[in-house]
């Protein structure tokens, strides 16, 4: 199979994730969309790695997975904390950082 297909799929996934972040308000969904974007990146990395014929891209993909795992830990932790303190699970209502 040609590399273009993979890249197109990766681009589609990335865009889906980005749009999801921009339009959805639930922190849970935003976290999922972030994962989607990261995995789109992973897909592109692996695809290009196959095309070039070495393993560097795959190594990067594994590193990205580790980072994604960390990010999920933090993100879910935040969401649980929000839930426990009975704060609204809506990012538009959480505006305390307003300057």
């Amino acid at each position: 199979m040609n590399v273009e297909w993979y890249v197109v799929l990766s681009a589609l996934l990335f865009t889906t994730g980005a749009v999801g972040i921009l339009v959805r308000r639930s922190p849970m969904v935003i976290l999922l969309c972030l994962e989607l974007m990261l995995n789109a990146g992973n897909l592109a990395l692996v695809a290009f790695s196959r095309m070039v014929g070495n393993q560097q891209g795959q190594v990067f993909a594994i590193v990205v997975m580790v980072i994604a795992a960390c990010e999920v830990v933090v993100g879910l932790g935040l969401i649980v904390a929000l839930f426990r303190r009975k704060l609204p699970l809506n990012v538009d209502d959480l505006r305390e950082l307003r300057g």
Partner: protein
């Protein structure tokens, strides 16, 4: 041990004492603090003796040593070391300073007993002695300035010691400001010396100066005049003298230590130390001599009318320092230094005696209220009489030999210097009159209420203490000597100190009898050997003639005082009534305070107010507020982006990256 090692120890001990007492004020009992302070100075005196013995063991020409511990500052062409200079002059000063200070510490041990700030007092006192010793032992002008400034600070701390008294804090500030004026003079002089000679060290400076400078060249005259500014400010000479009488606000041991025995003699020491420069600038030396003469007369006349016991003695100090400044300026070096020593003895003693009388009077210093203390405090009155006789130069006492030696030298130098002899003798007459005015008014007669109480009960119970100057109630928490204040007769350390000083005041003159021993002259000779003026020596016959005249004048002065204040006590009032304008003029201290106020303080205040209203408001405030407005405005603009909507941040991020990607795509194709 060498002389320099002893000298380093002399410096170290008071510093250690000050630090130990200062840091340990919470744990040390007051007795221990007092003992540490006194012993530190006493050991320093012992080390001074050690240095003296080392010097005496050497040839007269080899009696000068420089020693340095480490480099104090090193920069392009500048090499300043933490160095000391040990020669007969500095050892002489060390012995006078530590010797008198030991006795004053001993006196303070008893005098300050009921004071809340006992530890603070001893820490300051030790620091003061350390600063004075640093000043005296410094081996270069930089260290001299350091010691000079330390002394200024220490005097500020001690004058304002009872810091709840507004008069005391004001007096402290006044002393500090005037001393700083003197410091500036000294610093500028040091700059000029460095510019012309390229070094700060005493040895090279005094060796090079005669080759570099011509006599009366403007640079050397300027250096000497600037040095004089420093000397006059520290030694309370006209027109920088106004701080000294005010400084009497400090505790009496402070008056005794700073304003009689040590600090005010720094100017005399400075002139004696830099005599090589003054020989090259005879004009400046004459200026110093005439200022000294003017001070001794002005202060003598003011002392005649002062009704404040301590202030009258303070003016007498100014007057005696005038003699010393005059002496070292006209070339009577060893005579001036000798007078410095004897003056330290009898003036410290007089202050101590005054202190115990003032204590018995519940801090009232007005001699109009005092009477009959001769019966109430026998020991104090005897020692006060000894000090008074020495100050009045009664034949045989210490002051008799030292004062007349200066005047005899002035006669021997001849020419216009005869003025100094004539007016100096007039000053001696004033001295005898004002000294015995104090004594005759305070000691004899029918005891006043306080003295009577002292005779009957042996103890004066003070009611609520008040500041005699302003009438405000004293704050006893911060160390005003409270109701249980100990007067001299009741503690032995004070008696020992006063007794020792009384002995010295009467007999110290015998080490320098013209034609007989002249110990001080022989000892100091090597220091002043390079000065052509030191070659002028009054003949023994001339000296004794001078002494005879001095004796006659002294006795005459005492007789006048006796006639005025004992035989015809109504005469002074009649005199005052007849000479009303003169009396007012003298009571107002020749209007020096007012003169300085009009000439310096008011213009400075006006400039300050102008700067506050115009410069501060428009220029400084404008700059500051302008900067603040610019930063604030920029912040207000940028702040709108921070909306707090996470999704708008994400949009900005995505849009930014998209823009970046677009840019690279476009630029690569």
């Amino acid at each position: 041990m060498t002389a320099t090692s002893w000298a380093w120890l002399v410096l170290l001990l008071p510093l250690l004492g000050s630090i130990v007492i200062g840091l340990g004020f919470k744990v040390l009992p007051w007795r221990v603090a007092g003992i540490i302070g006194t012993v530190a100075i006493g050991l320093a005196f012992a080390c001074g003796i050690g240095a003296l013995l080392c010097l005496l063991g050497e040839d007269a020409e080899a009696r000068h040593h420089a020693s340095s511990l480490w480099t104090y500052a090193s920069a392009a062409g500048l090499d300043i070391k933490l160095g000391i200079y040990v020669d007969p002059l500095s050892v002489f000063m060390v012995l006078v300073v530590t010797g008198v200070s030991t006795l004053i510490h001993l006196y303070s041990y008893g005098y300050m007993q009921s004071d809340e700030g006992y530890h603070r007092f001893f820490s300051y006192l030790n620091f003061f002695v350390f600063s004075m010793l640093l000043l005296v032992l410094a081996g270069n002008f930089v260290l001299l300035i350091v010691g000079w400034a330390f002394v200024g600070f220490a005097s500020y701390a001690l004058i304002s010691f009872w810091y709840r008294r507004t008069t005391a804090t004001r007096a402290g500030m006044k002393a500090f400001v005037i001393n700083v004026v003197g410091d500036i003079g000294l610093v500028l002089a040091a700059f000029l010396i460095f510019r012309e000679l390229g070094t700060f060290d005493y040895g090279p400076v005094f060796a090079k100066a005669p080759q570099v400078f011509h006599t009366n060249e403007w640079t050397v005259t300027a250096i000497c005049l600037l040095l004089l500014v420093g000397a006059f400010a520290k030694s309370a000479q006209l027109p920088f003298h106004t701080w000294l009488p005010d400084a009497m606000e400090g505790p009496t041991p402070v008056s005794s230590l700073i304003h009689a025995a040590t600090m005010v003699t720094a100017g005399v020491y400075l002139i004696a130390r830099t005599h090589t420069l003054f020989v090259l600038a005879p004009t400046a030396a004459d200026v110093a001599a005439f200022v000294g003469l003017a001070t001794l007369l002005v202060a003598g006349t003011i002392a005649l009318v002062m009704t404040d016991l301590k202030r009258a003695i303070a003016y007498s100090t100014m007057s005696q320092i005038g003699y010393m400044i005059m002496g070292v300026s006209i070339g009577a070096y060893s005579a001036g230094m000798f007078h410095l020593m004897t003056h330290a003895f009898f003036k410290a003693l007089l202050f101590m005696a005054a202190g115990s009388i003032i204590a018995a009077m519940a801090n009232n210093q007005n001699i109009d209220d005092m009477k009959g203390f001769g019966k109430a405090m026998r020991f104090t009155s005897i020692t006060m009489l000894c000090g008074g006789l020495a100050l009045a130069a009664f034949p045989g006492t210490a002051g008799f030999f030292s004062k007349d030696e200066i005047l005899a030298y002035a006669t021997a130098r001849g020419g216009m210097y005869t003025i100094f002899t004539v007016l100096g003798y007039f000053g001696a007459l004033l001295t005898a009159v004002y000294t015995f005015r104090l004594i005759f008014r305070v000691l004899p007669g029918k005891p006043c209420a306080e003295a009577q109480e002292l005779i009957e009960t042996g103890h004066v119970a003070h009611e609520e203490p008040r500041n005699p100057a302003t009438g405000e109630v004293e704050d006893t928490d911060v160390g005003f000597p409270g109701a249980e204040h100990h007067i001299a007769e009741q503690t032995w350390p004070m008696k020992v100190a006063m007794g020792a000083l009384a002995f010295l005041a009467v007999f110290a003159g015998l080490i320098q009898v013209p034609g007989l021993d002249e110990t001080i002259t022989h000892f100091l000779d090597p220091v002043f050997a390079d000065s052509p003026l030191a070659a002028i020596v009054p003949s023994v016959a001339a000296s004794w003639t001078g002494l005879a005249i001095g004796a006659a004048i002294s006795v005459a002065g005492i007789a006048i005082a006796y006639w005025l204040y004992v035989l015809r006590p109504e005469t002074p009032a009649a005199l005052i009534a007849r000479l009303r304008p003169l009396h007012t003029f003298l009571v107002n201290k020749w209007y020096f305070d007012e003169l300085i106020d009009i000439l310096i303080v008011r213009p400075a205040l006006t400039i300050g107010r102008f700067a506050n209203r115009v410069f501060e408001r428009f220029v400084v405030d404008g700059l500051v507020n302008g900067t603040e407005d610019v930063v604030g405005g920029a912040g207000r603009v940028v702040r709108t982006v921070q909306s707090g909507f996470v999704r708008s941040y994400a949009l900005l991020l995505v849009a930014g990256f998209a823009g970046l990607a677009l840019y690279f795509l476009l630029s690569s194709s």
